[in-house]
Symmetry: C3
């Protein structure tokens, strides 16, 4: 079985996170910019995005990986170590079940698609 | 247990949606621009994106929240009220199960990560 | 029951994929740009994005659809046919369960929201 791991992290933590994920053997993932408001609720100002009510959003990277069940704990550990500062805004990790996965090149499915 | 709620809404409905979600106690979410074609199938024209076959895509906001099971119904109600116009293109809401969730700052998991 | 199908594909394969998905009756989906590294690991260079460690990322389209269970196999088949080249970098398909779905305009839920 496979799982999707979604990490919302500080943009500045990306280089270290990438290096550590590589060391852990995660070679396939996607990354996109998202804007979230966690518990900080506008305490910090983001110059590149502000909604009409004057509340600021913090840009973050959302990094998505799909890994085998057996690797989930190790990957979460890597994400925690690379992104923990103890300050509000460290981000969150979500883990979701993936029913199936197919590699388009080879038509391999399930775990074979991601190894 | 926790759920991920994904709402694809009209961009113009965002300020009201944000205000109402705040009132409902949802303080953490992400927002990204997506392009979708629902039943309107190119009836309306989007100047900032058109694929090579001349079919237009409508830019929408995709708003993602993670909430406890007990809050799902209230949040869906807020999303419906803030975004319903009765016209084609009002958008959709999807609800997915999240297996686990970790707050990076504190290592809290499950419901504790999102409160 | 309904499923979310997420396809990460080459940007150049989008027009054909769109045409074939339309033929297969998939009229609602979203599309966003993502950057992923699969097995090619920096073998190819992406001019518009490079992280601080000099590893390149390949821009891809991430196309997300929500379809009824009964259509999943046909849609996966379309995605495979439209995107298979046999070369590394063809992309991947992920299938996830969706617990529920609501069409905002009509308050229809489950399968009725996506037909």
């Amino acid at each position: 079985m496979i799982k999707e791991i979604i990490a919302v992290i500080r943009t500045g933590k990306w280089p270290e996170t990438l290096a550590k994920l590589e060391e852990a053997g995660v070679i396939g993932f996607s990354r996109q910019r998202v804007y979230g408001r966690g518990k900080q609720r506008g305490l910090r100002y983001s110059s590149d995005m502000e909604d009409q009510r004057g509340i600021s959003f913090l840009p973050k990277w959302m990094v998505t990986m799909v890994v085998e069940d057996s690797k989930v704990d190790a990957v979460v550990e890597v994400l925690l170590k690379s992104n923990h500062t103890g300050e509000i805004g460290d981000g969150k990790i979500f883990i979701c079940s993936v029913s199936d996965s197919v590699r388009i090149r080879t038509n391999e499915s399930e775990e074979y698609a991601i190894n």
